[in-house]
Symmetry: C3
Subunit: 487 residues, 3 copies
């Protein structure tokens, strides 16, 4: 095949024809001459297509905004020139103005690139309306998730995903291919009924973060409220002590570690529950309940929220001695010490306590930071799954253990004095320790050899006999663990 | 097409022939046997080309440094064997030694991969000189921006951009295709006159950082000088007070937040100016003045410089109590308090002030950190444009607001006492607040419904009537916002 | 070529046929129906192949776990249907159960995707055993390094490397192509004897980190032990002073900066040694000794370990004033000052010392942070080699210099008093300064014009006459520096 073609160095079947506007390249039309049209045409030309842009008033469009090789024509001319694919880069509210082009667009693939104007508006998707207006054309939804910027700059390091759907599978394939040719990773979402979702995709704000942020926020509210009640409001009502100055900083800094600790426990709880489910059911081939599935998928976000709280707690703590209040307290203590004539106020026990809880806190925070760094896409991608498991599970439990020790050393033996329970309310670090301790004990329990062995078997594909028809005598099959479903 | 070919699993038109040195693969020659030649030949062989390396003394070249399949021949033999493309991986100062090969190189594509020896040296580019020496060959500039390392390791996660230019469009296409085949993202820069720029590209150090770093540095100089004058030099000359010990740490820590705040304001000012330009002109299709365009393109770098100053300010502040001076001051204050017999020096107002400004500072710093994290390429790429806008604009203004509050709480009501104006010089935080407050007010002003509405219309492509010919009755066209030009 | 084909928009030679299960696509079989099989079939279908999964009991397999278009058949049927390639996604311990399929698998390519069950177990690799069991088939090892997750999600931003080996070069090529077609970066490791390494690859934990972590750990042990001896054990034995409370925090915080400083010196020492080797030998074309090569390859990891210690030192230091011990010391000092009647305990020298060493420390830490950020893959990839060199070499030596100054200012003139040498043991910062100072002096020495000039010549490819045969009159060749080997 390559021997009889002398001139071209590379086989002529190469997807990138040498002359962008060469006579052989397919013609693609774009209706509309806005930003998206400009960026799309730039990319199409760069990838070797001939591009015709159809404008209402081709003469009024600044020619210089389009790359060389793009033809600016009227919309009718552009529709006629298109070989197969026509992009409709026109606002959806003006689709009806294209109706006159039904003839030239007949049988062609119309790619709707519009976004939804709002979330959950219901009603017809733009692409569905376009399909109604052009029953003789084949409408494909797609490319709206790509920013004009990614189109122009090339997507080699950006988000390359292009969601595509259409009722005509031929046309869908054509657009899937086209997307690949332009350097994107197309995802086929099936029929045009998916277009509503595709149109709303660029409007959804951090979809996977909603639950974790809400959880963290509610935990914050609970602990902050509890501390406000226990340390500020009740003492004020009861004894008239004015501790309100603690609200902006001190109380926040007592709330943050509690939230961080509980959230960290929430990262590892679903994994334990999944293991319990698998052990109880004796198989891994039954789906988890939906809530557990969703929870398992949000562990990374929960972990980052826990890290965020830990960072803020660290910074707040390191700023504690900068506070005027800390200065006043020290001066007053010095005054009292001098007045009392105490030469040395050193308390060995308190010194050990403070050094130990600071050490555990710093080390736990350090481990948590390593975890957070590996959740950066570019770092995480460089790990193999064993390294990933080591970091997420091994280091994760190390961070949890160190954090629990941080809280325990902080608490010291104070929890055993009645003075720690004013108004019968336990100190907040005790509340915050409940869930983490349960998780840690649960994990230790699952590490018992008998349970561990059975779990490993199940995870490799073994099924308890009650799930197997009796004839099954054949061996289980290979199951390297899935990255994210890994417990 | 695939039915009549039984043996190969994959269609034979596949760009990667199964046998790297198979008889059908095109032969590419490389003149020179240095590091670059070795790396390039490794990559070419891996991508299915046959490679011939031409050396002055083929027998002296360590064969083991080249991948299997590469032929080491004399330069003349290599020139003759090349089917179409010859890389000249020889130092430019020795191009004249190749002149004897004019015959065998005639009609072939010479790819010049050399770098410039310095910036702004003027004179002829290496590629231009090569073109003069080989008038019968077709010289293409390219591949110099790629490191030998990226060549060898494969560029799948590295900087894949390859800048290419040539006066012969056919040869340019050939090399563009070749670059794509090797896994790079070639960029066509047109005629050979661009080769000077291409040759200098690898020498330019952080091109987009010059302006922002200079701006930050000048701001630093100004504020540092001002503080030196106001707090150290004038008190020394006037009263003989020796505050020089403040120079290495305290003064720097007063300068940094001022620089950070003003730089952060400079990130959001150009967006406001752009909006004002668009509102005033009634169209978005007129280009901004050059200075504004450049400024808009440097916002990310300015933001990171602001973040750098904020980080340093945070670290410096948290080290304040570690200083000997802080210890001495506290001891002396304790001495005075005991001597004066003041049992409790607590000042409720000062406590609130310090806790509030620390809180605002920490939160503003936290938000700024989130912003900085999303400017990491791998994180930013995972955001859709709505998330990007939310982070950059929403969180950005939140950080600016919190920083302004940090400064205002720090200032408290001290600005209203004459003592704050020694030598009639206002405190530095007042100076640093001017620009940020203007930006925040400007942003609030632009959020007025009437202006917002008009601006949104303009950004969607609407144009004020004075820009439109009267016949224009047709609808505006689709304009999804461009990522970076977004305000 | 494109003119006579009207219907398809894109040339039919496109690697992605429009219909995934179209009649023309090649059929690939997968033995086994576990997680890996599911993920692989998803990817194969997405890339346009027809997939047949062979299960022991096809009826028991949950159809919904496989993508549409996959046929679930018996293992025999699947083996027969395969056109050329058969994946064996079955646990290696059950390979013998496939022996009955020798007939239908004859002449086909068997891809072994299994992992090793442990490291350094010796014995036969799984793939070698498979090859023994199927002498008439052609066994290829590969795809085991890819996680099921990367297979399913598409590897566009993940680790795309696929290691492949086989004794049959034809089959190897087929699988190499297939891997590329699926979006991976295949690496050809030659014959089947490499399969043991490939099978163990996913089990190896951070292979490049072992040495640096061990080095850092040993340095930590040494300095911690030295400090324990000098500051705690000997004073206790000698005078009965109880300093044991310093163990968890204070001693750690004295150890960390010493480890960080020495490790940072170890980052730059091998570069100096390499330069000395090159100068001494007069050529860069002789290989360095193995230990130096390995050391040069571990500089990034050493640098990050140094950074980790620096971060911990910074956090520990900023927590110093939070300690109870710090509070007690201050109170006792206040008591003494009041008792002694000293109105002002200010010591100008101590104030300058503490401010200077804090400043140098903060700045050095800041520079080290910039270095660490550029070692993030996504940031480092965006740098050209000149920027990379500037950051790694320029900023690196700046960080080293600032760290040395930090230690020198911290030491002040205390090293010159006999009291600094209790039990004749020098203070730890003196020990920690030895290697960094040697490195810095060595670097300065190499920057002498005469040495610099010769070194630059050698790095550009020049060789000292004793390495050249006398006939060599020809010019040196182009050698752009290699990124990582750069000094």
């Amino acid at each position: 095949m390559q021997t009889d073609m002398k001139t071209p160095l590379l086989p002529s079947s190469d997807p990138d024809p040498s002359e962008p506007s060469g006579p052989g390249a397919p013609v693609i039309s774009i209706m509309g001459s806005g930003d998206f049209s400009r960026s799309l045409s730039t990319r199409l030309v760069a990838c070797g297509f001939r591009v015709v842009v159809g404008s209402r008033e081709p003469r009024r469009v600044a020619r210089g905004l389009f790359p060389a090789g793009v033809e600016l024509l009227t919309q009718r001319e552009a529709a006629e020139r298109a070989e197969k694919v026509v992009f409709t880069a026109v606002y959806p509210e003006h689709y009806h103005t294209l109706v006159g082009l039904r003839g030239p667009l007949e049988g062609k693939v119309l790619v709707d690139v519009s976004n939804a104007t709002g979330l959950n508006r219901g009603g017809q998707a733009n692409a569905e309306r376009l399909a109604e207006l052009f029953p003789q054309s084949r409408v494909v939804k797609g490319f709206n998730t790509v920013s004009a910027w990614a189109l122009q700059a090339g997507a080699h390091d950006g988000s390359r995903q292009v969601l595509i759907c259409s009722d005509c599978s031929d046309s869908r394939s054509t657009v899937l291919q086209l997307a690949r040719r332009l350097g994107f990773s197309p995802v086929d979402l099936g029929g045009l009924c998916a277009s509503r979702d595709i149109e709303e995709a660029p409007l959804i704000l951090f979809p996977s973060w909603g639950g974790p942020i809400l959880t963290t926020f509610l935990l914050f509210l609970f602990f902050y409220g509890y501390l406000f009640l226990r340390n500020i409001l009740l003492p004020y009502l009861d004894e008239g002590t004015n501790n309100f100055y603690e609200l902006p900083l001190v109380t926040v800094n007592q709330t943050l570690p509690a939230v961080s600790l509980v959230t960290l426990a929430l990262v590892y709880l679903p994994g334990l529950l999944a293991a319990v489910f698998q052990l109880g059911r004796g198989t891994k081939y039954k789906r988890f309940p939906d809530w557990l599935d969703r929870w398992l998928c949000r562990r990374k976000e929960l972990g980052l929220m826990s890290f965020l709280c830990a960072v803020l707690h660290a910074v707040y703590s390191m700023c504690l001695t900068l506070r005027r209040a800390a200065g006043y307290n020290l001066l007053n203590a010095a005054y009292r010490q001098v007045r009392a004539g105490v030469e040395n106020s050193w308390s060995e026990q308190m010194v050990w306590r403070s050094d130990l809880y600071l050490s555990c806190g710093i080390l736990g925070f350090g481990v948590l930071t390593l975890l957070a760094i590996t959740s950066l896409p570019s770092v995480g991608n460089a790990l193999n799954w064993r390294e990933f498991t080591f970091v997420q599970s091994g280091l994760g439990y190390a961070a949890l253990t160190l954090s629990i020790m941080h809280a325990l050393f902080f608490g010291w033996d104070f929890a055993f004095f009645p003075g720690a329970y004013p108004y019968y309310l336990p100190p907040v670090y005790l509340l915050a320790l409940i869930l983490p301790c349960i998780v840690l004990l649960g994990r230790t329990f699952l590490a018992l050899p008998c349970l561990m062995f059975r779990l490993t078997k199940i995870r490799r594909g073994w099924e308890s006999p009650r799930h197997r028809p009796p004839i099954n005598q054949e061996p289980p099959e290979e199951d390297p663990p899935l990255h994210p479903g890994d417990v």
